[in-house]
């Protein structure tokens, strides 16, 4: 039993990473209706920017704030320059664009900061949390930030005019335009916010997985999986999905014989697909009703 609780706790700790990433994925999915394959790389790049700022002697929290602003502006810039012209292109062409962006960001980061692994500081410290060896204060802090972010996003989307306008632009662009919402800028804003949330995710994840250009590869896959599991239309679902994937993965690794580290990912994915076959819109997603 103790093994079980420990594994669940450890799973929740890794799940927090996935939850963070999943939140960013859902954010952009809400705004543009596509999964952004370059999301992880954008987050990695933001993390490197904050690292660079700290190397230049800027204190942690100032670097954090500056990175958020830079990422937000960067996200908007990418949308305006690269993806707005593709708005009318077929969906699959957009996906190809994400892959291109992925290649560019990864390669530029690799050249600028090289591929050696770098330590990344944490503001929460890394001593055991409440006497548990499995969750450090950093991981607890990470869970706290994720939950805080979720609440902030909920308030933003439910109670502000601009949040309402963004939801309208995503749900029914034509009608939103008719009532005077600038849908084009709402999409840009969505990119900016997703990029900033990605930056937070990256900064929180970096102390655990260490900073290097490929740090997000694995995390993004789990983030996608978590977002899809929880339902792509629901930020709460995405966060829950993240924790669930983390716990699944750990339990599968512990209890199913013959599952080493290599098979963890396929098993987690297989489980998610099983869930999707039963509930195609994800755990908390709203089913989409189609009209012929």
């Amino acid at each position: 039993m103790e093994l079980f609780t420990n594994q669940v706790l450890a799973g929740i700790a890794t799940g927090a990473i996935y939850a963070c990433m999943a939140l960013a994925v859902v954010m952009i999915y809400q705004a543009i209706d596509h999964l952004n394959f370059a999301q992880g790389e954008m987050a990695m790049f933001s993390t490197f920017i904050s690292w660079q700022l700290m190397q230049w002697g800027i204190p942690y929290w100032w670097a954090f704030l500056l990175t958020l602003i830079i990422s937000f502006a960067g996200g908007i810039l990418i949308e305006r320059l690269l993806f707005k012209p593709l708005a009318k292109a077929p969906v699959l062409t957009n996906v190809a664009g994400f892959i291109a962006l992925f290649a560019i960001v990864n390669s530029v980061a690799g050249l600028t900061w090289d591929f050696t692994i770098k330590q990344y500081p944490t503001p929460f410290g890394s001593s055991p949390f409440l006497g548990s060896q499995l969750i450090s204060t950093h991981q607890a802090g990470m869970i706290g930030v994720t939950v805080g972010l979720l609440i902030a996003l909920y308030l933003f989307f439910q109670f502000t005019r601009i949040g309402l306008a963004m939801r309208a632009a995503a749900a029914l662009p034509e009608s939103a335009r008719l009532v005077g919402v600038n849908t084009s800028w709402m999409i840009a804003l969505g990119w900016g916010m997703a990029s900033a949330i990605g930056a937070i995710a990256g900064i929180l994840i970096a102390p655990v997985v260490f900073l290097e250009p490929n740090m997000m590869g694995g995390v993004l896959i789990y983030g996608f999986a978590a977002a899809v599991l929880g339902g792509l239309t629901s930020p709460l679902g995405a966060v829950l999905g993240g924790f669930l994937v983390g716990v699944f993965e750990n339990l599968a690794g512990t209890y199913i014989p013959g599952v080493g580290n290599e098979l963890k990912l396929p098993i987690a994915l297989a489980l998610i697909i099983t869930v999707l076959v039963v509930k195609p819109a994800g755990l908390m997603g709203r089913p989409i009703v189609k009209r012929v």
Binding site: P85, L92, T93, A100, A103, L111, V277
Partner: protein, 339 residues
């Protein structure tokens, strides 16, 4: 008003409708391309012939994805898994059973068809991004499964298997590379013609009806479940044959040759060639084989970025891929003839 009707969303089909005439080339152009493909290897070095063989092989794999996505409207990021199964089937049959290389290909095709058909069953309930995730999972799992100790006797584990390259038969005086090229070319033409005919047939129309509007198609009496899984099967089968040919041409199979990167490349090839336009497959295949090399030659350290920029340039200029170029060219020729 009930909640269901309030939520009703009219959704444009994810893959745009391609009329079936527009899916192929005219007879004259086809023959010209064919002639070029037949004559070209006589004038170039063996290494280039090898690259041309790979061009045809990837073109087959892109074509297979095109039938699935452009034909029946289903996404797949799992083509590398089918490719791997085909490659391993051929390699194992040749090296462990001692079968003739040409005979292993139909078997690879049949096994992959069955695999794709079975995989299509759970995938039936998924569409769009969900299907993309499911197929992605398959692609991620495949290299790990091939490495399992359980199959190691057959697959050679992480080491993989070495495959002997076949000689030209009937005492033909031809290098191995050149023979393999013509062998691949013959198979590719056969599959291309069969695919074109498939899409023109009753089944092809059913695929397209499902792509354009699934609910309407089922209302018209199309067996949606059957045709969707069938599309998966056919696509997997062709990919499997391409995989088998790939194993023979490269003379080597190993789990790490068939990662998700391959599936993404094939996807890019389809987009660059034009989704739903079968002749574009070869253009897309050329893109995924040659552009990374070009990027590497422009800048070693930034090859990824150069590749990304080139890809962006292509999709900015022609968002509909090579098909768009072909349509514009056709219109120009039409105007010239009239004028």
């Amino acid at each position: 008003m009930s909640a269901a009707t309030e939520d009703a969303v009219t959704e444009a089909p994810a893959v745009e409708a391609v009329p079936k005439r527009a899916m192929t080339l005219g007879l004259g152009t086809s023959l010209a391309v064919l002639a070029a493909l037949v004559i070209a290897p006589l004038f170039v070095k063996n290494f280039i012939i090898f690259q041309m063989t790979m061009l045809l092989i990837y073109a087959l794999a892109v074509l297979a994805l095109n039938i699935l996505t452009g034909g029946s409207g289903q996404f797949s990021l799992g083509q590398s898994a089918f490719y791997a199964v085909g490659a391993y089937t051929s390699a194992i049959l040749m090296e462990h059973v001692g079968m003739n290389y040409a005979l292993t290909l139909p078997i690879a095709g049949i096994i992959c068809f069955a695999f794709g058909f079975v995989f299509g069953q759970p995938a039936l309930r998924l569409s769009g991004v969900y299907l993309a995730l499911a197929t992605f999972a398959l692609a991620v799992a495949m290299p790990q499964l091939l490495k399992l100790g359980f199959f190691e006797h057959w697959t050679g584990g992480v080491q993989g298997l070495v495959v002997t390259k076949p000689d030209a038969p009937f005492g033909l005086k031809m290098s191995q590379d050149m023979w393999l090229y013509y062998f691949t070319l013959a198979i590719s033409i056969g599959i291309y013609v069969a695919s074109v005919n498939l899409l023109r047939s009753r089944s092809g129309r059913a695929f397209m009806a499902i792509r354009d509007n699934e609910i309407a198609a089922s209302a018209m009496g199309v067996n949606v479940a059957l045709y969707k899984t069938l599309a998966f099967g056919v696509s997997a089968g062709i990919t499997g044959i391409a995989g088998g040919l790939g194993a023979i041409a490269v003379q080597f199979v190993a789990p790490d040759g068939y990662t998700i990167t391959l599936a993404i490349s094939l996807f890019l090839g389809m987009v660059v060639g034009g989704v739903g336009w079968l002749p574009g497959s070869i253009v897309g295949s050329a893109f995924i084989i040659f552009v990374p090399n070009i990027a590497e030659s422009i800048s070693k350290g930034l090859s990824g970025a150069v590749f990304g920029v080139l890809l962006f340039i292509v999709i900015f200029l022609v968002p509909h891929g090579a098909r768009q170029v072909a349509i514009v060219a056709q219109q120009l020729i039409g105007k010239l003839r009239k004028g």
